[in-house]
Symmetry: C2
Subunit: 210 residues, 2 copies
Amino acid sequence: MGKIIKDLNWRYATKYFDNTKKVSTKDLETLLEATRLSASSYGLQPYHIYVIEDEEIREKLKSASWNQSQITDASHLIVFTIKTSFGEELIDEYIENVIKTRAVEPQSIKGYSDFMKSKLMFLSAEEKNNWTTRQAYIALGNVLTVAAHLKIDTCPIEGIVSEKYDEILGLTQKKLSAVVALPIGYRSKKDDTQHLPKVRYSKEKLFTHL
Amino acid sequence: MGKIIKDLNWRYATKYFDNTKKVSTKDLETLLEATRLSASSYGLQPYHIYVIEDEEIREKLKSASWNQSQITDASHLIVFTIKTSFGEELIDEYIENVIKTRAVEPQSIKGYSDFMKSKLMFLSAEEKNNWTTRQAYIALGNVLTVAAHLKIDTCPIEGIVSEKYDEILGLTQKKLSAVVALPIGYRSKKDDTQHLPKVRYSKEKLFTHL
């Protein structure tokens, strides 16, 4: 079925990273560019992404992640944060970007701007957070696949204490909040789970064709 | 930066599909196998996926999707549905699969099973739905990337009336609920949006390096 399926079979949630191996600048640039190109609702990208190498910060974040060693042993730690309780500025900033990138007349996309605002501004704070988190998860799914394609190991970690991440990274005053962490790097030889067969629903159980 | 970045730049939310072009059986198989290999929390894959070619059903779903033409014009419609108000059976089924796939002794993973149950069984119905939806979105992000890699066009549609989808597909009695729809196929030449430059945050705006 080709390389991409081989890559996805090769991927697994890495339990132990080799802390002597670093992702190259070139591969990191590719991975981040892929992240930047992720799809999102209306193209709004309602998130901000931290790429953390600093050891001291990672040591603190580890204690806010049930002491999972991947946080500090991986080459880099990517932290997806969502824009909490966003206002009209999220759409205005996007519209400005459209005007600049596509050289369109502001008046010609006023209707689209109003449409987005009518859809998003009346959501509750909780609904907004659920929506922004889902957009971050599209990016996460994309990054996991592209990383595997580049033979970079990953381990998505939902088990983080968001409030502590927000405090350590100073996110609250920036109206951001951490939703998921992704150590990236290279698997350690001592990680036995890499040899285990993948557990997945059969296609008969996962799909219904109509 | 290589083919994968080219693929992601080529991707866009397709507004008009060419309704004369079908995704080949081989490519569809690859795309679904990639979907099946998506990462999910604990590997539980708490969703079920519909792959719909039937024209009559799609006509009905279109009316539950603000009449967006992609629903019927695309080659296939993929509908991600989540397992609503799941119980211990979700974990039990996974554990059975682990025992079978990895030939382990049931007793040796009892602790892991109990751990997952302690994490998931006490979530409220709403928290469960948010969690399952996030897992479906990881799969969505993966599929968007793999589709682009196969030069298959897509258009993720969050603007669906879930209740109507659930009724049309008979999901409620199966304890499923539709969360997002994904038409797949090939862009029509008449879709002018394919020529527009992509609007994205600059890397300076999207990332913070620490």
